[in-house]
């Protein structure tokens, strides 16, 4: 006997976002279908030093975690500030979206979003320099994410360009 009132069934924290994976093999409709059934979350804005153990501890608060895949710099193969968290059930993932998204891990506000499902290769950053795209272009200084963004680093250190 649920309330049949649309106006009261708001559950906005679990809605899918605007982001769509450009490398997804399939069309937009297929991706959205997967996102709406997924029990996998993308987690962003992590510090490079945040460990799998810390992620486990935090995300276990909304249910049993099946697997964590730490995102890696494609070249260096070191953590580059994101990860995937897979739950056994969708309901547990929804609670993470409601109550863990937008709170802190390692003193940073982390962001969670639905993911269509982990596939080999998706654990790597897609930025030119090997990390995440957002770290290519950002201009602020973030000591937990390698300092300045890559472009800014090059601008600040023109000799560095010659190394390429």
């Amino acid at each position: 006997m649920s309330s049949h009132l649309n106006a009261l069934n708001s559950d906005s924290y679990i809605e899918i976002s605007q982001y769509r994976d450009q490398h997804f093999k399939g069309n937009r409709y297929e991706q959205e279908k997967l996102l709406k059934q997924s029990s996998t979350l993308y987690v962003g804005n992590l510090s490079f030093y945040t460990t799998e153990e810390q992620v486990y501890e935090l995300f276990s608060k909304s249910g049993d975690v099946k697997r964590i895949i730490i995102g890696l710099d494609k070249i260096k193969k070191t953590a580059c500030g994101f990860c995937f968290v897979e739950y056994y059930t969708r309901g547990d993932a929804e609670n993470a979206m409601r109550f863990i998204n937008g709170t802190r891990l390692d003193d940073r506000i982390i962001r969670t979003d639905w993911d269509a499902g982990f596939r080999e290769g998706r654990q790597y950053g897609r930025g030119k320099s090997g990390g995440q795209v957002r770290d290519e272009y950002r201009q602020d200084y973030d000591p937990a994410r390698g300092g300045y963004g890559k472009l800014t680093q090059l601008q600040r250190n023109p000799e560095g360009r010659n190394k390429f």
């Binding site: 006997m1 309330s3 049949h4 009132l5 649309n6 106006a7 009261l8 708001s10 559950d11 906005s12 924290y13 679990i14 809605e15 976002s17 605007q18 982001y19 769509r20 450009q22 993308y42 962003g44 804005n45 460990t51 799998e52 153990e53 810390q54 486990y56 501890e57 935090l58 608060k61 909304s62 049993d64 964590i68 895949i69 730490i70 609670n95 979206m97 409601r98 109550f99 863990i100 998204n101 937008g102 709170t103 802190r104 891990l105 390692d106 003193d107 506000i109 962001r111 979003d113 795209v133 957002r134």
Partner: protein
């Protein structure tokens, strides 16, 4: 299309705020929206909004009557915090259209019947309250509500029904009186007095064995943890003494009195409570959580007393707001903080008390624990100048009272506090808690701080914890979570198995296969056997030591590394742990090597159960074994046990569901009855075979589940009996910190898995919880039985 995730500026979801400005397409959606939103912040007054809405709805009645009826019935059921707003609306509609009023009342009664039959008892209470408040709006005649109440109270005279059934009907009557007591007494005081006297009689004779199990603190001071019906009764008695003067509830209908008193009233149709059935699941009793009183809010409005009806109404409304908005933390926080009438009460204190009341509720909180942490953080964001201080005050108070706090609640407090701190750079005035350093380290305060620091470390890292506490707290800092390898270096070369360990280690590094490892391990002697002329297949603890210690040491870097290792050598591990002793020993080794890293122990045990290297019973036996005596009061041990029980429960549920799905499929196939077609009959018999197999699987899983609980309870009984006997012969006080921990952990098993354990009560009573048992232990079982009695 931008590839970037949404910006960091906005804080998590709630895009619905943008959606509100766009108009819903259908008229029905518009009606829904108008009705649901009345009473929210507006430039016009509530009265004028209600007046306007009544006009709109009256005009729409010819075409949309059923829809409007449905919407109003729904809001009565799911928006109880706006009760009086909607009763006023119904009152205005009834004044304009008597027939509609009648149809609404009938619809509500139908809905009440349905909710009771479907075990939705909280919602049924809201419906009863709504109907009562309609008396105040001249929609329903007072005498017919009194008649309803008389039927409810009659339930207390029924024979052979669970006490919790009668409890609910009494609660429904008492909890409506703050709204309608005055009117009912004005019209029918003799009948009401008789009713109350019957209720008094019932309350005096009902059993309260359950209270001890449900109290958050066992001490009476500073605030007694009262049984909920006792507290409500005291509040109603006081209200009666005050001649039913109630000033807290917002009553919009008062402004419309001149219009409403012209309206014709309806009588409630006679309502007989549905008879008791075996499928009925009545709400469990609960204890009222109180942590604040009028001495705690230093300035500003005074907190209403614990037996004032205002306290009841405020708490009810705040619980209802959380119940409605728990999924949307920003809305929930905003709604809590905009509680009508907030200027007259110390709202922050009420909110904090209600939230902790839910978090600590026994057996379980109404919502997932992490919700409360995040809600409190949102509240701190919205009231940065006042709420954090109240929260700090509450934390301080709870620390002071740890000695008598139920251990399940202490677990939750540890989890909440450490998670909360991790959002605020772990800033806390630890020095204020220096008293925990001088006491016995097994005492609750020292244990609490130690467990908090350990949880804080899990969310950060060891050095961080060292940095955040004063140097005097060093003894309470958790160990650095480093691996302990038995065969570490040349100093251990004299240990049996040392050479084998080196060989195995090299083999693993050279990507040996499972068979190759098993072959290597064949040469490891068995310390348990005089001669080695067995096949080497039976339990050999040294083999397990050599292999597992080495494997885990190579994989110690992270959880993923360790999981990979377990997966890669699954075959070897299964072989080594074929026997029960093997399973026990593998758990022992995991605990030995990762003694400093309880989190790793938990995840490894979880993985080993899921990959069937060990089974649930092995984990239970391990926890109660001699080796784990010194870990027995650590929180992580109980987290592991409860997680293990939950996995077992989920496993049974999964197979039960598969069985039900197959049965349904067969049903559906039988319904398409058109064939003697061979293919169909083939399918049918395949399905029937599958159902038979699943039936066996279910029975076997349930048997395993029952066995798990038997083992756990048996072990508890043994340990507790030993302790009690020792204390009796030695003449010592039985109430040691260890005993408190143990008996409350036993209670915790019952509380956290009560639904599952109910199924096996017959066996438990016959085999374990017999009359011969020490009464201290039997009392726990009796408390559990009384929860649904």
């Amino acid at each position: 299309m931008s590839r970037r995730r949404h910006a960091d500026e906005n804080d998590g979801g709630q895009p619905h705020k943008r959606r509100r400005t766009s108009e819903p397409v259908e008229i029905e959606d518009r009606l829904e929206s108008l009705i649901c939103r009345v009473g929210e912040k507006s430039t016009s007054s509530l009265e004028s909004n209600l007046e306007g809405l009544a006009g709109v709805l009256e005009a729409d009645l010819p075409n949309y009557k059923n829809k409007i009826l449905r919407i109003l019935c729904s809001v009565a059921r799911v928006l109880p915090e706006k009760l009086t707003i909607y009763t006023t609306l119904v009152g205005l509609l009834n004044a304009r259209n008597y027939n509609f009023g009648g149809e609404f009342v009938e619809a509500m009664i139908r809905q009440l019947k349905e909710t009771l039959k479907s075990n939705f008892f909280s919602e049924a209470v809201y419906l009863v309250r709504f109907l009562c408040d309609l008396v105040n709006c001249h929609v329903i005649a007072a005498p017919s509500v009194v008649a309803l109440f008389e039927n409810f109270v009659c339930v207390t005279q029924e024979d052979d029904v669970p006490q919790v059934r009668c409890d609910w009907y009494v609660y429904a009557v008492l909890s409506s009186l703050p709204w309608v007591g005055k009117e009912l007494y004005e019209k029918k005081d003799v009948e009401m007095d008789r009713l109350l006297s019957q209720i008094d009689g019932y309350l005096k004779r009902r059993q309260k064995t359950h209270v001890a199990m449900l109290q958050i603190w066992s001490a009476e001071k500073p605030h007694p943890q009262e049984e909920y019906l006792d507290c409500l009764w005291a509040q109603i008695q006081k209200l009666k003494k005050d001649r039913w003067q109630e000033r807290h509830i917002l009553r919009p209908y008062v402004a419309f009195d001149s219009v409403l008193c012209e309206a014709l009233q309806h009588n409630l149709p006679p309502f007989t409570p549905p008879p008791h059935s075996d499928s009925a699941v009545y709400p469990m009793p609960h204890v009222i959580f109180r942590m604040f009183d009028y001495t705690d809010a230093p300035e500003g409005p005074v907190m209403p007393g614990s037996h004032s009806v205002e306290r009841f109404v405020i708490e009810e409304n705040l619980h209802c707001i959380i119940r409605t908005h728990w999924k949307e933390r920003k809305t929930c926080a905003a709604q809590l903080l905009s509680y009508p009438g907030k200027s007259k009460i110390p709202l922050n204190y009420h909110i904090v008390e209600v939230i902790f009341g839910e978090l600590f509720q026994l057996p379980c909180p109404p919502h997932v624990e992490v919700m409360y942490t995040t809600l409190l953080i949102e509240l701190c964001k919205l009231q940065p100048g006042s709420l954090p201080q109240v929260l700090a005050q509450a934390t301080e108070m709870m620390y002071m009272r740890l000695d008598t706090m139920n251990i399940t609640c202490v677990d939750r407090l540890v989890n909440w506090f450490s998670h909360h701190l991790s959002n605020f750079q772990f800033r806390w005035s630890w020095d204020d808690w220096a008293d925990c350093l001088t006491a016995d380290p097994e005492k609750p305060k020292a244990k609490f701080v130690r467990e908090v620091l350990e949880k804080c470390m899990r969310l950060s890292y060891h050095q961080r914890i060292v940095d955040i506490v004063p140097p005097s707290f060093a003894p309470l800092i958790p160990a650095n979570p480093l691996f302990i390898y038995k065969y570490e270096d040349e100093n251990s070369s004299t240990l049996p198995g040392y050479n084998a360990a080196i060989t195995v280690g090299n083999a693993i590094k050279n990507r040996a296969s499972n068979e190759e490892i098993l072959t290597l391990l064949k040469d490891v002697p068995n310390p348990n056997h005089e001669d080695d002329d067995d096949e080497g297949e039976s339990f050999n603890p040294l083999k397990i030591d050599v292999f597992l210690q080495t494997l885990l040491s190579l994989a110690a870097k992270s959880f993923s590394h360790s999981f990979s290792a377990l997966a890669k050598f699954h075959e070897v591990l299964k072989t080594l742990t074929e026997s029960d002793e093997g399973k026990l020993h593998i758990l022992r080794v995991v605990c030995d090597v990762w003694k400093n890293h309880p989190q790793m122990i938990s995840v490894l045990v979880d993985k080993m159960i899921r990959t069937q290297i060990v089974d649930c019973v092995a984990v239970a036996n391990w926890i109660f074994s001699q080796d784990m005596t010194h870990e027995f009061t650590r929180f992580y041990v109980w987290e592991i046990l409860h997680s293990t029980i939950r996995k077992m429960n989920k496993h049974v549920q999964k197979i039960q569901k598969e069985l039900e799905d197959s049965k349904e499929k067969l049903e559906k196939q039988h319904q398409k009855k058109d064939s003697g077609d061979e293919e169909d009959m083939e399918e049918d018999s395949q399905l029937e075979e599958q159902i038979e197999r699943l039936q066996e699987k279910v029975e076997s899983a349930q048997s395993e589940q029952k066995n798990l609980f038997l083992v756990i309870f048996q072990r508890f009984i043994m340990m507790l009996t030993e302790h009690l006997a020792r204390c009796e012969t030695g003449g010592t006080d039985l109430n040691t910190p260890w005993y408190k921990n143990c008996i409350e952990r036993l209670q915790q098993i019952f509380l956290m898995h009560h639904a599952t354990i109910q199924q096996y009560m017959g066996t438990l009573e016959n085999l374990l919880f017999t009359a011969e048992l020490d009464h201290h232990i039997l009392a726990v079982y009796q408390q559990f039985c009384s929860l649904q009695a």
